[in-house]
């Protein structure tokens, strides 16, 4: 291996890549813009939906309103419900979403309640579980009815001369003891590792295709091979470039997210004041460090596969499916039951996604971090070996 020659190849490829607008977009612009756009877009969309949902009145029906005049009047006065007339086939109306929910009072509902101090009555709420608005309407109805019941219970307790606290002998409270960093980190860990890994892969994809299949398509690979540089040095130079781009993409993605989270913190606190979605510099650096060997693996692996193709287009058909194969373990890290174990620490991609989740909550399992870093480095070495071997096979280089 002649490092000087490898570095000449590297510089040449770097210049080539920087001149290619396409690579710049996918490797540099995309990771920078993705998070601010997602953040703003989803924020605005969520706001829109929430306000729109609030405005629209939900159509509900009351059956047997004459049996419960007080309660029916309260329901009619509810600001978010519009009471409309119902007939016998109301279940069909609920299924067709003309009505969101129907409440049915039994005969003598209020009369019975007022006769005995411990009389009870049951009310039926008809709703459609496949309609989100129906759930909402049923919740609204239930809330009004529950409040009516609670008031009645209070009156009964007072009327019978019972102590006021009889219904609640003790209180139960839940208290969050997790630090703000851990709560926010847990939410971040849901999606961020996945985004970082996918961006790292797509960042490496275009340069990897360009320095292999692209070179074949332009007919320059023969010239390059004829130069006084050994195959291994050539691969190394190209590989360093692809790794560099993948690394830069990853770093940009993490930095862009950190900045977005910092600047957007003001916006978020309006939604929930206890939510802190910032990542510390330490966590950002640690995650970057863990993704680094993965970026190298991607770079070498993509190059080995893309070299098989004769042209750009063919390379794309090969790498497209590969994208799925990589995304799948990253998505698996989102499943609720999956936590980092020594066995899972050996599964490529998944292990990095899982350890990133831990790091975002400020938890550093050093032993597992060591295993993951070591095993990912091993995979990177294997992928690099495969790439070098591919470049030594004439059958692959000059396929026609």
């Amino acid at each position: 291996v002649n490092l000087q020659k490898a570095s000449i190849v590297f510089r040449k490829e770097l210049l080539d890549t920087l001149r290619d607008r396409r690579t710049l977009i996918s490797s540099i612009l995309l990771p920078i813009l993705l998070f601010p756009v997602l953040f703003l877009g989803f924020g605005a969309l969520g706001f829109l939906i929430v306000t729109r949902l609030g405005q629209e009145k939900l159509a509900v029906g009351i059956r047997g309103a004459e049996h419960a005049p007080t309660l029916a009047a309260r329901l009619e006065a509810h600001p978010e419900l519009a009471v409309i007339a119902t007939d016998q086939d109301f279940p069909d109306a609920i299924r067709a979403k003309r009505l969101r929910a129907v409440v049915e009072f039994p005969p003598g509902f209020e009369e019975q309640l007022n006769t005995r101090p411990d009389a009870s009555q049951s009310v039926i709420l008809y709703y459609n579980s496949s309609d989100l608005r129906s759930d909402e309407a049923a919740d609204d109805l239930e809330e009004v009815i529950a409040r009516f019941g609670a008031e009645l219970a209070e009156q009964r307790v007072a009327a019978q001369g019972l102590p006021a606290g009889i219904g609640e002998p003790f209180r139960i409270t839940k208290q969050n003891v997790a630090t703000a960093e851990r709560v926010g980190g847990n939410i971040l860990g849901l999606l961020l590792p996945y985004f970082i890994i996918v961006l790292c892969l797509t960042g490496a994809m275009y340069p990897a295709m360009d320095v292999t299949a692209g070179e074949k398509e332009r007919g320059t690979i023969e010239t390059l091979l004829a130069s006084p540089v050994r195959r291994t040095d050539l691969v190394l130079g190209k590989f360093l470039l692809v790794s560099l781009i993948a690394t830069v993409t990853t770093a940009l993605a993490i930095a862009s997210f950190s900045l977005t989270a910092m600047l957007g913190a003001g916006l978020l606190t309006r939604i929930s004041d206890r939510l802190v979605l910032a990542i510390s510099t330490k966590a950002a650096a640690a995650v970057f460090f863990m993704v680094l060997p993965l970026a190298v693996t991607f770079a070498a692996g993509l190059m080995a596969v893309a070299l098989l193709a004769r042209n750009y287009r063919e390379a794309q058909t090969y790498l497209g499916p590969l994208l799925f194969v990589v995304i799948l373990p990253a998505v698996a890290s989102l499943l609720p039951g999956i936590e980092l174990t020594p066995k899972l620490a050996l599964v490529p991609v998944l292990n990095v996604a899982l350890v990133a989740k831990e790091i975002f909550v400020g938890h550093y399992p050093w032993k597992l971090i060591g295993i993951i870093f070591g095993s990912t480095c091993l995979y990177a070495a294997l992928a690099l070996w495969a790439a070098v071997r591919q470049f030594h096979r004439e059958a692959v280089l000059f396929r026609s």
Binding site: I124, Y126, P163
Partner: protein
């Protein structure tokens, strides 16, 4: 316009596409294999992780257990928990997930309950947003509530009342949704989105190959010099793109249906079965057809602008993004079909397809969506025809 010429162009281009074995792999075989593998594999994996979570016992701590022996005994008897000896640093242990939750009983809890005096609160400490911790706290709260109800009913019984005194009104929820509606809610919300994305991805490759690819290979000039008129060429090419788009979609759906059936037969997956009647399927197909026409037309028109395959890919990438956004919008809760959304292309079809899959048929909206998508489809096709008549686009250098 001569149909004969269109047919000739169509047959030639189709033959071209089918002969490219790699295209066939990418557009046909791959989704056929990938879909079943992905769905079954993922269902298995999530089932496994769910089972594992259920089997797990959660480690909790009881602080001041001696103050509330009855309630503590209830918690200890619960199979879900493994109770460990109290330690002062329980907060850190919860943060580090070594402990899922802790319960604190105040001094004199049982004694005050006995006297009927209001007892101070019991506290449940947890790690918010952490799934297992939230689940443990939830269970602890339920156990405490059950105990509380028992205390209340014995207090009332002592005074000669039933518990109904404090609970005058009970509400019972009755779900009127048909089983297929509930299943449709799950799958039907995602299925239209998949169909549209499949349509677009099926049309993408042939649209580029028949325009920019032709330019790249240098065969476009020859083709234009043939006896076929421009409009006939466009129609022929367009029909090929449409055919492949629909074939990809149908094959992927067939393989998807197969894997869903397989999952349902094996008892994994949802308990409700998701079925689509032939009529619904035909109706959805009729709705998707104009979308496929629109996408084929627009992709052809855009790809023709490019000089090379690579350039075409970056242009069409933005179209794919434009397709994905409204389709994703349809999955968001609260977005429904109404006279306004019925005019938003792509979004309208996904929304109406969702309704159809959940078993409701809003005919007025369906008609409106059909009309508006046909208008958009005609516009897309017109765009492609217009592009093919512009020399500066055809011979861009």
């Amino acid at each position: 316009v001569k149909w004969q010429n269109i047919l000739t162009v169509y047959r030639k281009e189709l033959l071209d596409m089918v002969r490219d074995r790699r295209t066939l792999y990418a557009t046909l075989v791959f989704p056929l294999v990938l879909f079943p593998v992905m769905t079954t594999g993922f269902a298995k994996l999530s089932e496994m992780s769910l089972k594992k979570t259920r089997r797990e016992t959660q480690r909790i701590m009881l602080l001041g257990e001696e103050h509330a022996p009855e309630l503590a005994a209830r918690i200890r008897a619960d199979q879900q928990f493994e109770v460990v000896a109290p330690e002062a640093n329980f907060r850190e242990q919860i943060n580090e997930k070594k402990l899922r939750a802790a319960v604190e009983f105040p001094p004199g809890f049982a004694a005050r309950l006995e006297q009927g005096a209001p007892a101070p609160e019991i506290r449940i400490y947890l790690y918010r947003t952490e799934l297992r911790s939230e689940a443990a706290a939830e269970r602890l709260e339920t156990l405490a509530r059950e105990y509380q109800e028992q205390v209340v009913s014995s207090r009332l019984a002592r005074r000669g009342f039933s518990t109904a005194l404090l609970k005058p009104v009970e509400t019972r929820r009755e779900d009127v949704a048909r089983p297929e509606q509930v299943a449709g809610m799950r799958l039907g919300r995602l299925l239209p989105y998949f169909i549209i994305v499949l349509c677009a991805s099926g049309a993408l490759h042939p649209a580029i190959d028949l325009t920019a690819g032709e330019k790249e290979r240098g065969t476009l000039e020859t083709l234009l010099a043939s006896a076929a008129r421009r409009i006939e060429l466009v129609f022929g090419k367009f029909l090929v793109v449409l055919t492949l788009s629909l074939v990809t979609t149908l094959l992927a759906l067939a393989s998807f249906a197969f894997s869903v059936l397989h999952l349902q037969r094996n008892g994994t997956g949802a308990s409700e079965t998701f079925t689509v009647s032939a009529g619904s399927a035909a109706l959805v197909f009729a709705l998707v057809l104009p979308i496929a026409v629109l996408l084929s037309g627009v992709l052809l028109a855009l790809a023709l602008l490019a000089k090379s395959y690579k350039e075409a890919q970056s242009y069409t990438g933005y179209v794919m993004l434009g397709v994905l956004l409204p389709a994703i919008g349809s999955v968001l809760p609260g977005v429904e079909i109404n006279p306004v959304t019925a005019w938003v292309p792509i979004l309208n079809v996904t929304l109406v397809a969702q309704e159809i899959f959940t078993g409701s048929f809003p005919w007025l909206s369906i008609a409106l969506v059909l009309i508006s998508s046909c208008v958009y489809a005609a516009l897309g096709l017109g765009l492609a025809a217009w592009q093919f008549n512009r020399e500066e686009v055809l011979f861009r250098a």
